[in-house]
């Protein structure tokens, strides 16, 4: 327990800015999860591993000498096809099944992904250097890496772009129709199979963007996927499916929580704090709903 943060308010500014910028990134991943959860009714435990895979794509670019920031364009394109292939291979067999089946199946996928990434990229913690420098604020007492600002900016652009795409395009309309009622959409001529594949692909592409941004702002490691899954799951259950402003807000809230937990409890408890927060949120919602004799659905 370290209460230094309350004695030095400037640290609080630092933590808040860090948290908000990080939270926007989390919100992007959560948006992908909300999309596929809403449309396909699947909880994807491999979400975080898709993120990390996207990050490694950007890192590979960095290794061959291309600036990793280009990863935010290349990574989603590759990841779209990864997601599409994953759908055709496994996910299409679990779409209409019990949610627990999809959880376990994607858990299996997550393990495969982790191990394959471990083989290909090694078990070291890596980071792609963007060399964007640092912004100093308040007499140099608050430092903000420019890469974080860049990451938040790109996340917002992608999120807005996707919202417009979902509203305007034909595929977007088909996706929304399928989310509302898959059977009715099918009757009206929507090829739901294609819509599902595209949704999963878009989700993976969003993960790819987020991963590329994580590769320049944070660190990559083959086994850190699960915390990202849990974060996005948490954001989605707090914000609800398909409520984008709420997703952004709760993403930032989570980012803030994490940074403060990091300062107060110590870095070793950071991931533990995230998982405990998940438990607390679920339990809180359960008690709130049980007053109305309902439960989380």
């Amino acid at each position: 327990m370290d209460l230094l943060i309350f004695q030095a308010p400037i640290l609080m500014v630092q933590a808040s800015l860090d948290g908000i910028l990080l939270g926007i990134l989390f919100a992007l991943i959560a948006y992908g999860m909300a999309l596929q959860w809403g449309v396909m009714n699947i909880i994807n435990i491999a979400q975080g591993d898709l993120v990390i895979l996207g990050g490694y794509i950007a890192y590979t670019m960095y290794l061959v000498g291309i600036h990793p920031a280009w990863g935010v364009i290349v990574s989603p394109i590759i990841m779209y096809f990864v997601g599409w292939g994953l759908y055709k291979l496994v996910i299409n067999k679990v779409v209409d099944r019990d949610l627990f089946i999809s959880i376990l199946a994607t858990f299996g996928i997550a393990i495969v992904f982790q191990q394959l990434m471990n083989f290909i990229f090694g078990a070291d913690v890596v980071v792609a250097q963007s060399e964007y420098g640092t912004t100093m604020l308040f007499d140099n007492s608050v430092t903000l890496p420019n890469s974080k600002i860049f990451a938040a900016f790109i996340s917002v652009i992608y999120a807005i772009g996707l919202v417009i795409y979902m509203r305007r395009s034909k595929l977007g309309r088909a996706i929304r129709a399928t989310a509302q009622n898959a059977r009715a959409a099918k009757i009206l001529g929507v090829d739901t199979e294609k819509v599902y594949a595209a949704t999963f692909g878009i989700n993976a592409a969003l993960c790819g963007v987020a991963g590329a941004l994580i590769s320049i702002t944070l660190t990559l490691h083959p086994y850190v996927g699960l915390p990202y899954t849990v974060r996005s799951f948490m954001i989605v259950i707090v914000a609800g499916l398909g409520n984008l402003p709420a997703v952004a807000l709760s993403g930032m809230g989570l980012g803030l929580f994490e940074e403060f937990a990091d300062y107060i409890l110590g870095t070793e408890f950071r991931i533990g704090a995230v998982f405990m927060l998940l438990v607390f949120i679920l339990v809180y919602r359960r008690f709130k709903l049980s007053k109305k004799r309902e439960y989380l659905k």
Partner: protein
């Protein structure tokens, strides 16, 4: 009826004799056999609430890890200062005498069984109010959080791990350690089996099944579902704690995320084994665990390095293609063996509706 009973009697006595003779017959595989016993216990007790109650928990690893840490801590803490033990890595500084070792592990296992049960009871009311996948994700979070938090606590070794007391050096027989842990785990296995078998014949199982099939209706029928759910979870926790305690002593070293709260291995294994054998059956988890263990030990060495890939693929294949498991498949094939009477006309009519 009597003939059936007699058949059962022969089966069970045969299995018990086999179990007692196994460490002498296959004395090179004692550690593997101990693992097998523990895996069966875990699968069987997971099945109690995963299969019977319909509450698919990823978090039973919490009780397993808790049991492991508790046994080791009690075993050390009863005779020596715990903090100094973990600081020095637990080697050479303090040595348990034979009597101390066995006293310690006895009390430790007792604590390891009781405390997780109490914990399950305490958090049960909050957690078991969640249903379906929310429960699954919540327990997954609990298990991982426990591992992360245990990895930050200094007194139980934090990130560097906790060496459990070595087997007393005064016992010179090299076979003794393996035999001790094997018989300990076999005892727990027999206890667990008798307990689960008893539950399978009781009203309690019917209540659990009612909760699985439709909780709201079960509640409407006047069953206090919450009470039974908590008791069901506590039963699992009891045996998970014991299994964890034994494994801690057997492995000899506890790491917070790789050994104790090992959601990536044990936590998934117990779910997988129960599903492989068939959820909601008495023998399913036993067969599933045995098959899985043979598969794992037989194949792991040939595909060294690729075992996790194989594990992941295995999970996907089992879950996607055999969600009913082996017993479910057999049941589909030979329904009359399972005491189900099927009206052929009725069955055909149902197929046509589909």
């Amino acid at each position: 009826m009597n003939a059936v009973k007699q058949k059962d009697l022969i089966l069970y006595s045969g299995l018990i004799i086999l179990g007692l003779a196994a460490p002498f017959l296959f004395s090179a595989f004692k550690v593997q056999l101990t693992y097998l016993c523990v895996l069966i216990v875990l699968a069987m007790t997971w099945n109690l609430q995963g299969g019977e109650m319909g509450y698919n928990s990823f978090g039973n690893i919490l009780f397993y890890g808790l049991g492991m840490y508790l046994t080791a801590s009690v075993q050390v803490g009863m005779f020596f200062p715990l903090a100094e033990w973990t600081e020095s890595g637990g080697e050479k500084t303090f040595v348990h005498t034979t009597a101390q070792y066995f006293q310690g592990i006895g009390v430790g296992l007792l604590v390891a069984a009781i405390v997780p049960t109490i914990v399950a009871g305490a958090i049960g009311y909050a957690i078991l109010g969640l249903r379906g996948h929310y429960f699954a994700i919540c327990t997954l979070g609990l298990g991982i959080a426990a591992g992360e938090i245990a990895g930050g606590i200094e007194i139980i070794g934090a990130g560097q791990g906790f060496t459990t007391p070595p087997f007393p050096a005064e016992i010179v027989d090299p076979e003794a350690r393996g035999q001790f842990f094997y018989f300990l785990s076999f005892l727990v296995l027999v206890l667990a089996f008798v307990f689960v078998k008893y539950i399978y014949g009781s009203r309690f199982r019917l209540i659990l099944n009612a909760i699985r099939d439709n909780e709201d209706k079960a509640e409407a029928m006047g069953i206090q579902t919450m009470k039974y759910k908590i008791v069901g979870w506590m039963c699992s926790a009891f045996f998970c704690g014991l299994a964890g305690g034994i494994m801690g002593g057997l492995i000899g070293y506890i790491d917070s995320t790789d050994v104790a709260f090992d959601g990536r291995e044990m936590g998934v294994f117990m779910v997988l084994m129960a599903i492989l054998g068939g959820k909601g059956t008495l023998w399913g988890p036993v067969i599933g665990a045995t098959l899985f263990h043979f598969f794992k030990e037989g194949l792991w060495t040939f595909i060294l390095g690729w075992q996790y890939v194989a594990l992941g693929v295995l999970i996907v294949v089992i879950v996607v293609y055999f969600p009913e498991g082996l017993m479910g498949w057999l049941r589909e094939k030979y329904p009359d063996r399972f005491g189900e009477v099927i009206d052929e006309k009725d069955r055909k009519a149902q197929v046509e509706i589909k």
